[in-house]
Amino acid sequence: MESKLKNNTSKQLLWIGMIGITMFFAGLTSAVIVRSADHGWERLNNIPQWFWYSTFAIVLSSLFLIIAKKQVRQGISPTPYIFLTLILGLLFSYFQIMGWGQLVNDGIFLTGEKSHPAGSFLYVITLAHLIHVLGGLISLLVTTIKSAQVKYTKENYLGIELTSIYWHFLDILWVYLFVFLLYSL
């Protein structure tokens, strides 16, 4: 009973936290909508190729995490799959940074005289997402270590559940942001 309550409260805390994060990004993306509807808005029409790769990486990472959860439910060690998710998460971060590099090469800057709100929005929104991914990576690292130490059983795997809820959320959030940026900037 006590452990069920702990599971429920932990998950709810996470869900409500994610609602807060959603509102944060809703604020940023609606800022793009409001600003783009006004005069003087210049579209970029230039989303880096690297962001396609990062999208692929994070979606794939989520699939591995689904497998990891299934494994732990069946009493099989999920460590390899959680570790793969972590690697793909790191790859996602690398692709994002490469994407910013491509933007700079293309003359789209975050700040300065040559910058424009559309470009700045692209940097800030992707940066804000990456900061949240950092939290997810730390969580994946801790889960990987704990899993390797056989701290999870098929009855008790709250850590993996919480990590996967958050990681899937980051995945879905990125897909939303990517599609949004693709069509609005």
Binding site: L5, T9, G20, G27, A31, R35, D38, L110, H116, P117
Partner: protein, 583 residues
């Protein structure tokens, strides 16, 4: 959770995870900030009533730099107004009110040992404390504290070189606000999860006291709106510190054109007010909850229309998210969009009227006990009506544009939001003080506090409506250069007089509060003969709230003067008698 674990001074009073201690920490920090914020208002009122005159007290407070020869510097005036608004809106009426009563009442009134996460709760306070320190430090920086108003509109807030207060003071303001938002979100998460999961046996949602309903809905509003303020602030920080142009465009300072192009300060207003208006209800809703509870207890009657009260809270919360545009009627908004915001704004009058009607119906033919808490509760109803009525004028775009930048707005929001919420807070402190400290506050001082506050508060804010209708602009350092306002000087002097007296009388409350903690007469377990669960907990403070089992709930919390009952109150823990129906 153990009931009697060993506590050191540090774990008991400083890094406590006990919700009751955290509530007291919020309350006392909020009170101290309240004194700072109120003192600021009294000091800048001196300038407004006697512009350009010398006051030794101003020089004493601000020194030669900000009050040369006792005359308040215009930049310091702007800073004082900004910091007064910031402190009162966020530090006192958000954290001081919600932080105190959510923490104190949730576990005690729902029948829980503590919050879902005592650690997150403790973090919530310490983020708030850190925010407080940063904000207070900003008062002492060379260029002065932030001075772009509590709404920190760009470009003043976005360009460090704009005015002195746009410099380091504004940076510290933003850091303090970020810490504050984190604190609010941590607190809100905990409140929601605790209410959903940790209610004792029998405590269904339909048996929750209205205080808890109000806090629950407030927390939801906070979780949905504060992150948007965070995104708004993030873009502002990028504009200020990294040279982006989200809110800035075509700006010339000192004859030099800045590089910013393509930004829009109106965008900031959209994002800010998306939080800003729900924030009004983050402030008001806990006060509405407290008032419902205190009124029912002291009327010895069930609250009128419990379900309607809950419904009204939900309706107000929902509507609060679709009315932000009424703060922006004069930004050149499309008139059609303005009419949409007028419509949604005026809709709020419906649930607000439901609440007022229910309060009056609760008071109708009641055996009212005029305790200080009850007086503040009735005072709340008064200001909620008075301020609400002028809200109808300001909600209508056609009327609002005539008075938007005048003292009419200052009078309106101080009465409906400031006074109402602070009355709710006072009511809560007087009512739950015996539960917090096991002692009673002095009643006579309480009466004195109420009556002088009530008269002075109206004395300050009621005349402001007439100043506004006469066209007197708000935010200005002085209006002495506009001869058409010369005739309004007397009114401004009267307002300042009431502000000084009203400010001084708060010292009586502060004295009463701290004196009663140590010397107040000892309280009985249930001094107000109340039904809610907190009064079944022992007077002695203990972590875990109840020794042994947590009590089971059998009825709603408003069984006062129930026909056929032996007493005029029936605690929630008392089982229904055979044949007895629940309300």
């Amino acid at each position: 959770m153990s009931d009697h674990h060993k506590e050191t001074f540090i774990t008991k009073y400083i890094f406590s995870i006990d919700h009751k201690m955290i509530a007291k920490q919020f309350l006392i920090t909020g009170m101290l900030m309240g004194i700072v914020g109120m003192l600021m208002s009294v000091l800048f009122r001196l300038q407004l009533s006697n512009p350009g005159e010398s006051f030794a007290v101003l020089e004493w407070f601000f020194g030669e730099k900000w009050a040369p020869e006792g005359i308040l510097d215009p930049n310091m005036y702007l800073s004082l107004v900004t910091m007064h608004g910031t402190i009162l809106v966020f530090w006192v009426l958000t954290a001081g009110l919600s932080g105190t009563f959510a923490n104190f009442l949730i576990p005690l009134q729902i029948g829980a040992r503590d919050m879902a996460s005592g650690f997150i709760n403790m973090l919530s306070y310490w983020f708030f404390f850190a925010a407080t320190i940063v904000l207070l430090i900003s008062l002492f920086v060379e260029t002065g504290p932030a001075s772009a108003g509590w709404t920190v509109y760009p470009p003043l807030s976005a360009l460090p070189e704009a005015i002195p207060g746009s410099g380091l003071g504004q940076d510290l303001w933003l850091i303090a606000m970020t810490l504050f938002i984190v604190s609010s979100l941590l607190g809100g998460l905990n409140y929601i999860v605790t209410i959903l999961n940790l209610r004792t046996k029998g405590m269904s949602m339909s048996r929750l006291p209205l205080t808890i309903w109000a806090i629950f809905i407030t927390a939801i509003i906070g979780v949905l709106s504060f992150p948007v303020l965070l995104s708004c602030s993030l873009l502002l920080v990028f504009d200020r510190s990294f040279g982006t142009s989200f809110y800035l465009s075509d700006i010339i300072i000192g004859g030099e054109a800045l590089h910013h192009t393509g930004g829009s300060p109106i965008l900031f207003e959209h994002l800010f007010w998306f939080l800003g208006h729900p924030e009004v209800y983050i402030i008001l809703l806990p006060a509405l909850g407290i008032v419902s509870e205190v009124m029912s207890v002291n009327s010895r009657k069930p609250i009128f229309g419990y379900k309607a009260m809950v419904g009204a809270l939900i309706a107000i919360a929902f509507l609060s998210f679709i009315v932000w545009g009424h703060h922006m009627f004069i930004t050149g908004m499309d008139p059609f969009l303005g009419s949409v915001f007028t419509f949604t704004t005026l809709l709020i009058a419906i649930p607000s009227a439901v609440k007022v009607f229910n309060y009056l119906a609760t008071l109708w033919k009641a055996s009212i006990r005029f305790t200080p808490a009850m007086l503040f509760t009735i005072g709340f109803v008064s200001t909620f009506i008075t301020g609400g009525l002028t809200g109808l004028i300001l909600g209508d775009s056609a009327l609002d544009i005539n008075v938007h930048d005048t003292y009419f707005v200052v009078g309106h929001f101080h009465i409906v939001m400031g006074l109402s919420a602070i009355y709710g807070m006072f009511a809560g402190v007087y009512h739950w003080f015996p539960k917090m400290y096991g002692r009673m506050m002095n009643k006579t001082l309480g009466y004195l506090h109420f009556w002088v506050t009530f008269i002075c508060a109206y004395g300050v804010f009621f005349p402001m409506h007439f100043l506004g209708l006469a066209g007197l602009p708000r935010r200005y350092y002085t209006n002495s250069h506009f001869p058409m306002f010369d005739g309004l000087t007397d009114i401004n002097e009267v307002i300042t007089f009431f502000a000084i007296i009203g400010g001084l009388v708060q010292l009586i409350f502060v004295f009463n509060f701290f004196y009663s903690i140590f010397k107040g007469s000892k309280s009985t377990q249930n001094p107000w003969k109340s039904n809610t669960l907190e009064w079944t907990a022992p007077i002695e403070r203990m972590h875990g709230n109840w020794p042994g089992e947590i009590p089971t709930v059998h009825r709603w919390p408003y069984d006062y003067s129930k026909p056929g009952a032996e007493r005029d109150f029936i605690p929630q823990t008392e089982p229904l008698k055979e044949g007895e129906t629940e309300h």
